[in-house]
């Protein structure tokens, strides 16, 4: 398992989630179709250091959002363990979630003050209406909105301001752990910077731990202490952010880093890596990345690579990395 200097706030071990995406029963009987299972998350283990930020990155369909939903309990896992460390109160850390699309995650018919007050009322965290009102005002100020904004409806705000509202709502129940599922991918860059800065400030102020999910490598680099790269339901590489960016070991991580457009030095004549993410319904045998991998050997298509911990505290699942002797 990962040995981080700080105690992990969240430990996930051998997490598995399979979705049943079979055709309806009648079709199966009449057309002789078999049951079809989609292995969204396949034996995933990671740990999020307390007060830190671990990012899950990968392309669409790799299972990163499923992990977020499993961690917050929105899906039930098939097997494996999700353990939160004891928080300030001694009880396991409470987790909250910030969603991707601030246009869909706020009820358009509710006033902002009611949206933010809902967790307070639901969890009975404040008794009187006045106390709830005070807390809502405090939360609005915390995320950089004004108390008078509480009277407005979500449609009166821009995308960035709406994301601030969802952050205020997530903070209402004083969580110590936040799961952020692509919180800025629906926002423009100048607004994205505002929201990322706000999230960093809140992390320092409230000692929050983040599980951050994104496909944008430059945002991930900015936000996280550790990165876990996912491909078709598995973590292929996990390690410290700087180590991964400086020395990516897995060929898929190398591919991901190569494809980031560099604004300062555009690479117009780059060699584009061909191929696409295969369907998770029919994952390739062995290492699921082998059909796209430039270094693949016969072994890669036959055998699932085991996860190896390297001396740099990076864990990699690749046969080729395995062959390199680990210095003691």
């Amino acid at each position: 398992m990962t040995t981080t200097k700080t105690k992990p706030a969240l430990t996930v071990e051998h997490l598995v989630k399979t979705f049943d995406v079979s055709a309806p029963w009648l079709n199966r009987v009449m057309e002789g179709k078999p049951r079809q299972l989609l292995q969204a998350v396949n034996d995933i283990s990671f740990a999020v250091p307390a007060g830190g930020c671990l990012s899950l990155v990968g392309e669409s369909g790799c299972g990163k959002s499923t992990v977020a939903r499993l961690v917050t309990g929105l899906h039930k896992s098939d097997s494996g363990e999700i353990r939160f460390a004891p928080g300030r109160s001694g009880a396991p850390l409470s987790a909250q979630m910030i969603f991707q699309d601030p246009y869909a995650s706020l009820n358009p018919r509710w006033r902002v003050k009611n949206i933010i007050a809902e967790p307070l009322r639901e969890l009975k965290l404040r008794k009187t209406a006045a106390e709830i009102g005070d807390r809502v005002e405090e939360l609005l100020l915390t995320v950089g909105l004004s108390p008078s904004d509480g009277e407005k409806f979500p449609h009166e705000f821009s995308g960035g301001q709406r994301q601030r509202i969802s952050i205020a709502r997530a903070l209402a129940s004083e969580p110590e752990f936040l799961v952020c599922d692509e919180p800025t991918s629906a926002l423009d860059v100048s607004v994205q910077a505002q929201v990322l800065n706000l999230m960093r400030r809140l992390q320092d102020e409230f000692g929050l731990t983040y599980l951050f999910i994104s496909h944008d490598m430059s945002v991930v680099r900015h936000m996280s202490d550790r990165i876990a790269v996912m491909y078709l339901g598995r973590i292929v590489e996990e390690g410290d952010t700087e180590t991964i960016f400086a020395d990516p070991r897995h060929p898929y991580t190398q591919l991901l880093l190569q494809t980031i457009p560099n604004i300062e030095e555009p690479n117009r004549d780059r060699v584009v890596v061909p191929g696409e993410v295969p369907s998770p319904l029919k994952p390739p045998s062995g290492c699921t990345f082998h059909p796209r991998c430039p270094l693949a050997t016969a072994r890669c298509s036959a055998e699932v690579p085991a996860v190896r911990t390297l001396s740099s505290n990076t864990r990699v699942a690749c046969h080729l990395v395995e062959d390199v002797p680990v210095p003691a």
Partner: protein, 328 residues
Amino acid sequence: MGETASEPILQVRNLKVEFPGRRGVVTALSDVALDIRPGEILGVVGESGAGKSMTGLAIQGLLEYPGRIAEGEIRLGGRRIDNLDDRALEKIRGREIGAIFQDPLTSLNPLFTVGAQLEETIRQHLGLGKAEARERAVALLQDVGIPSPRERVDQYPHQFSGGMRQRVVIALALAASPKLIIADEPTTALDVSIQAQIISLLRKLCKEKQTAVMLVTHDMGVIAEAADRVAVMYAGRLIEIGPVEQVLRAPAHPYTRGLMASIPTLGARVERLNQIDGSMPRLDAIPPGCAFNPRCTSAGPRCTRERPELAPVGHGMSACWLNAGGIA
């Protein structure tokens, strides 16, 4: 027409688009002027609502009612197209202007095979027979890098992956060898590794076929990789235009500068990203003077009184008093 290679294919002059409504007329675009030469990719960037997509729609004559072109002119290969009727425009769209939209799934008809859709466009605009049209369809699919095009030409859009579908959409846009392609966020719905493939394909085809491309996107990375020149839009106006190296490396307008600074870079890691405070004004509440003045850190008294016009800076143009006689 007899134009030389260096003469622009598309010329837009002081374009103004208005939307009359119950509460008066909203000006969505004003004073937009741009040229695109054969084989050149002009990137158009800006935040959502800045008017970048609107410019593309106005050029294609696709403004939604009650939007209208109130002033200015649009010339394609020297011929004025902004005052044409619907029938004449239909002949131009597809034949002389190709379009690529954001979501490849919604821009293809799910009920027809990819081949049927390509053949329809080819026969409609080039007047070829059925067999010839089919040959051309197969050749087009080959051009855009679809493997085994002879088999895939008879498949339906759902049988293609996202990246492959976008390739089909590019083939459709190229079907009648148009002079101009308007690509509106062509890579936004795709994964990073696929994004790089599509950008390099678009760039290759545009150079080979000497097609002018207007690439609308909010992603500076895409601009850096693909565009030859960049136009930056803010609140319905062009605020900076110039060669890509100049605009990205030495932006003249404070908004472009802020935009570039707010992108997390892969170079040195910073604690806090630069952010542009506030958000873009709504189109019905644009402040007097320079529309950016409330958010601008270098705004002076002149910026709130007078609106700056585009003035030459280096090899480009910028609309800011800092470059045109001072802010006092």
